[in-house]
Amino acid sequence: MSLNALLAITPWPVFSAIILVVLLIAVLYFARKTAHQAIRTASGALANALRVASHSLSIAQGRLAERNREVLLAAGREAKERVIEREFTRVGETVRKDLANYPHLHRGLSEAIAQIEKDHQGAVEVPPDPPGWIRAVEAVSKLEAKDGGSEVLADMHKSIVKAHKEAMEAYREASTERHELLRAMMPRWRDVQQLLTEVDKKAASLLTRSAGVDRHMQEYEQIVKREDKALSVLSSSSLVQFFVSAMVMLVALGGAAINFSLIARPMAEMVGGTSFIGVFKTADIAALVIIMVEISMGLFLMESLRITRLFPVIGALPDKLRVRMIWITFSILLLLASIEAGLAYMREVLLQDELATSALLRGGEMGVENGSLWITTAAQMGMGFILPFALVFVAIPLETFVHSLRTVLGLIGIGLMRALSLVLRVLGNGFRHLGTLAERLYDLPLFVPLWLESRLDQEDDDRGKAEPPVADLRPVRDLREVAP
């Protein structure tokens, strides 16, 4: 029914409109309670659904965070165990090396000390003999001069002076000998000092290493105790490792791209330049496969060398088998590198051929022979040979990337879930308030009947206050009347 038809229910459209408005308001007023309930139910249902979804997301986020924490701690524990193991190995190596030298050191020190003792004994000063004939001199001196005492004394004096002179000479000789011995002790002292300095240096190195081990052990304990500090350090370390490894892998990707351009063109000579697999040229795919095989061989080589631990099966192989695997992967890599060098040479030859043909087709000369062409050819061959070996080292950042990726993805997931949970909660509250707003908007055109209703209610209340309630005074005839 169109609006015009509605306005034509009476001959006067305005009157028709008034009747319609009044009817509409009446309908809305009588349906008010039901409409309010419907709005409340709808908004409440939406709000509750969103709140439940938000709550579920919060729980899932908590679980993910716990899982991430476990992964981070496990990775940190493993890494720390590896570091501590390496430190202990180094300490063991140092101790073994030093202890192996210890008998030699001990013998050197003992010999030096024995020699010093011997020299020291030899250098002890021998006290001069006490004069033996002092009493005789005293007795002679008591004789009278006439008894010839003075001559005797003079002779004795002469003899004493002579003996003194001889004793002094002997003493000087002995002193010189002692000084010689003492001088000979000097290098031995120096030897002892040098040996002791060496021992001190080694002891200091051991102490430094042991301090490092202590520090690592403390960190390990923090990880085992699941302390927040350890978790925070591990988390930031994981992020740094992720970005650094991603950057190194980008560099490696550049290397792989150059490698690809070196071998893609000559590959067309081998597999044809016009066959396609899907939308890609077979030659391009073949070149890509060679590079991928090289990277795989590099991975296996690194695993066999136990530098990376992406494949525990390879790491757990018996040493004999592992060494065989090292040689096999290295041989394949060498073979592929040689093939690449050959292809790089072929590329240069093809390029020259193509340039010559283009020059001919352009109607120009074949071009001047470039004497320095061998440099670019050699450089291309060198790159073709070296790049496969350089790509071997991609395994190291790849391992770090893979390990840190779990943590980073977990962190991103936690962040996304947290944001989504917040959005859902806000939306839930928004719907609840929208329901209230819708009720108010519903009541807006009904302001006249609502005002009348409120007036009537007020009058009823006033009357009720004036008269005591009759119903309450009536006796209860049926229990169902008061039942809830």
Binding site: R265, G273, G278, T357, L360, R362
Partner: protein, 212 residues
């Protein structure tokens, strides 16, 4: 495990398309050797060399002359399908260029000009090669002059062909009445397009990149 199997199946399905799509090109160049156009053949050599430089391995190329009766294999001066290996394709290009240069140096003028016969031969050649793209280059003034007895009043099946008229020079009579030149071009255009082909005219030989 299931996921890996599905991925492998999808990869195999992607690789093994039911009907392989031909990605190579086929080019057939018709050279007008009539008396009115004989002087333009030097320019044709440049066009041929340029075309050779643009073609890739596995493409097909043929150069044929337009003479009294052009619907004949004998009128093909040089034809080749380049090898898949780039080095062999380069050698083929050099040999092809040499053959064309020899022809242009020693060719005599033809009395009549059977363009339709040449086009029929071109269509037949390229259809036989089954190339992905088929292009017919007509190096001519487009003035057909048939000898008595030759019937060329027929529709050439140009569906799927690009027909490019190159260096369509104006004749002396066109200078008197330019409408003749326009009518000639229009007649060929309508004939090609009516048969399902695409028609282009390239008169500026310095901009041959729009030719192929």
């Amino acid at each position: 495990m299931k996921l890996a199997t599905v991925l492998a199946c999808v990869a195999l399905a992607a690789c093994s398309q039911s009907a392989p799509v031909a990605r190579n090109s086929g080019v057939y160049l018709l050279l007008d050797t009539s008396g009115t156009y004989r002087g333009e053949l030097r320019k044709a050599e440049d066009v041929i060399l340029y075309t050779l430089s643009r073609l890739e391995p596995a493409d097909s190329f043929a150069v044929a002359r337009i003479d009294t009766g052009s619907f004949s294999e004998k009128d093909i001066i040089a034809k080749t399908t380049f090898d898949e290996r780039p080095s062999t394709a380069n050698a083929q290009k050099r040999a092809f260029a040499q053959k064309v240069q020899n022809f242009i140096a020693h060719e005599n003028s033809a009395k009549y000009t059977d363009i339709t016969g040449g086009l029929l031969q071109a269509v037949e050649f390229l259809n036989e090669k089954g190339t992905g793209r088929k292009t017919i280059l007509i190096f001519s003034d487009l003035e057909q002059d048939l000898e008595e007895g030759y019937v060329r009043d027929m529709e050439v099946p140009f569906k799927g062909f690009d027909v490019v008229a190159l260096n369509v020079v104006k004749l002396r009579k066109d200078n008197y009445d330019p409408r003749q030149y326009t009518a000639r071009l229009e007649q060929w255009r309508s004939q090609v397009e009516k048969a399902g082909g695409q028609w282009r005219v390239v008169n500026d030989l310095d901009r041959l990149d729009s030719m192929l």
